[in-house]
């Protein structure tokens, strides 16, 4: 009979413990449904604990505070294709007014977004779009043209608009990078006749490979005046090589990077300036876009809306709102960012 009594006790104890656990964790404010007239906006980044999205979420939260809504931030710990679905479903159950998503996969979350849409949730994608049928508006951080011309402007300015340059890209079949490089080549040819692009090297978005390719470029082309790396992995590896070499300050380096990776190289003079978009502005604009859709200030292509301190934006024919030109980071502003 001992066993019986113990098992009963055990069952009761386990049950009680779990109920307490749940009561302690749950029963919170419930994420906020919007029956009080407030606009409730839920941000769903690719994953949590990612400084880039922490920054964009902070921008979103600031915007929501401005227009007096309820802000929530949810997300999976891993950026896998389907990990966002349960959070989209939760938003649908809560019937939030708008969901702002950076999609891990353009298709896998589509049906879930459709269902959320079906219960009246406005869907805004930012940073990474889904299939256009699955969302109301995509807030695009930058166009390929904008990214290409920002990098050409930076490098030509840094080398005095003449001399040899090379590109250190990701992999040879990286879609984004190839599109940008094509536009950069056209821009160089048309507007910078004295700048010669001598080689496009591929670091495969691998730190060590990019590091080695940087070394190879510098040895192959003794007169090289600048390197453009349109990938965050490449630019950081190239900067690391340059900062410890005789070429520091002699060979210019720019491209797309993140402030946290590039901070020390900007401060030690290896890199003068580099570009990327400002994720905080991106989150801020996405939240305002969501608000405009919920309040009816804008409802589709052709409509314009106010986005606080960023000004007025228009939804284009593809349902896209463009943040603007890439943001240039340099020694003066890099300490304002942490991502």
């Amino acid at each position: 009979m001992f066993s019986t009594r113990r098992n009963t006790l055990g069952a009761v104890a386990t049950a009680a413990a779990a109920v307490l656990l749940l009561a302690a964790c749950g029963g919170g404010d419930g994420g906020g449904t919007a029956d009080d007239g407030d606009v409730s906006v839920t941000f769903l980044p690719k994953n949590l604990g990612n400084p880039y999205f922490d920054t964009s979420n902070a921008g979103g939260a600031a915007a929501v505070e401005e227009f007096g809504g309820t802000f929530a931030e949810v997300g999976p710990t891993e950026a896998s294709p389907t990990s966002q679905v349960s959070f989209i479903e939760t938003a649908a159950q809560q019937a939030v007014d708008a969901l702002v998503v950076s999609a891990n996969d353009p298709e896998a979350i589509c049906d879930a977004l459709d269902e959320a849409s079906g219960v009246g949730v406005k869907i805004v994608t930012f940073d990474s779009d889904t299939n256009p049928d699955c969302r109301d508006v995509f807030v695009n951080q930058a166009t390929a043209e904008g990214i290409a011309s920002a990098q050409v402007d930076l490098i030509t300015e840094q080398i005095g608009d003449e001399g040899q340059i090379a590109i250190l890209s990701a992999s040879a079949n990286a879609t984004n990078q190839n599109a940008w490089i094509e536009l950069m080549e056209a821009d160089l040819e048309a507007n910078h006749p004295d700048v010669e692009l001598v080689e496009i090297a591929y670091g495969d978005d691998d730190d060590q490979t990019s590091f080695d390719k940087t070394a190879a470029l510098l040895q192959t082309y003794p007169d090289l005046k600048g390197i453009v790396s349109p990938t965050t992995v490449g630019i950081a590896a190239a900067a690391r090589y340059l900062s410890t070499s005789e070429y520091q300050g002699e060979v210019a380096l720019t491209g797309l990077g993140t402030p946290n990776q590039m901070r020390e190289y900007v401060k030690d003079g290896t890199v003068e300036a580099f570009a990327l978009w400002n994720p905080e502005d991106l989150g801020y604009l996405a939240a305002h876009t969501a608000n405009a859709l919920v309040t009816g200030e804008a409802s589709g292509p052709g409509d314009s809306f106010e986005a606080g301190e960023l000004g007025t934006f228009e939804i284009d024919d593809d349902g896209v709102v463009l943040l603007g030109d890439p943001f240039v980071f340099d020694a003066d502003n890099i300490d304002d960012f942490d991502f």
């Binding site: 069952a11 779990a18 009561a23 404010d29």
Partner: protein, 375 residues
Amino acid sequence: MSEVSTGSADGVGTVPSGGADSAAGRAVAAGPNGGRVYAAHARPLWRRVLVTREASIIGLLLAVVAVATVAVPNFDSPLTTTFLLREITPILLVALPMTLIIVTEEIDLSVASVIGLSSVVVGLGVQAGWPFPVAVGLAVVVGAVAGAVNGALVTFVGLPSLAVTIGTLALFRGVAVGLLGTTAISDLPEFWTGLTRENIPGTPIPLVMIVFAALALVFAVVLHFTPVGRSLYAIGLNKEAAAFSGIDVGLTKFWLFVTSGAVAGFAGVYFTLLYSNARGDNAIGMELQVIAAVLLGGVSIFGGRGALHGVIAGVLLIGVLGSALRLSGVTSDIITVVTGLLLIGSVTSARVLALAHQRRARPGRRGGIAQVPPG
């Protein structure tokens, strides 16, 4: 349902210990003979059914549902039921054969990779223009073949399933990702993808639950009401004893792995349709969710103990807890922590109870405990 005679309801009290009683499993299966009375059978039926590990998990599940219904806004909506069931169906499906495998003291870590592989096969089949049912059939066959690879290495080569399936976890995933690269096939027949989002008319319960219920019934009958099921517990408790009792241990395990592969293959088809997305990296990491749920449901990782209703409750408990916490705005890292603590708490409490019981059971006392299956 799964009374003591299955060795599941209260394993601690049911292991007859007559020294080198080589037919331990058998004796339980054959029922008391020669006037022997099992300690556990001295207890009234209602106690044997209600006071079990499985019952405590079911109780916990009901308690969590009750608390969430009252305390968590939006939890009591029909949408919650639909979304929850839809999402945990792959885990429910794969947990059925996993339970049988763990009962025999083996493990199959490759199930999520088989789901990925099956997903790619379905996608490629559709892309090649095959009729959808043919693609599904092939995916299930590929799953079964993958399971047969595991089974053959475990039984005919004699390797531990932990090592074998860690290897095939990587192997099958590698093949799946290799076949399709980083691309996804999302142009799947809309009739079938739509079907995964349909409910049984008039209820919030997804249609796929009919398939699950049928499969669960088959697995429950086999495990708890047939000689085959008895033999699985016997293998898990003592495989030498089981072999001497005339059970073909190797063959039994082989077919369990084949079954596990085939069910994972089917789960892969469902997963693909649910997310309209055939990809090599689908369901990455799901094997751990499945095993966590099976252990939470009262199955001993050392084999010989567990019941399907506990496992189903275990899967539902993890699902409901996640859903309730998400609705309360709890972040996913905390949800993972809570799930982990729940599992550790449940395994620990079972172990502590078993130890306490063991200490009480003095040697020489009839039915004294020779071996306590922990967990």
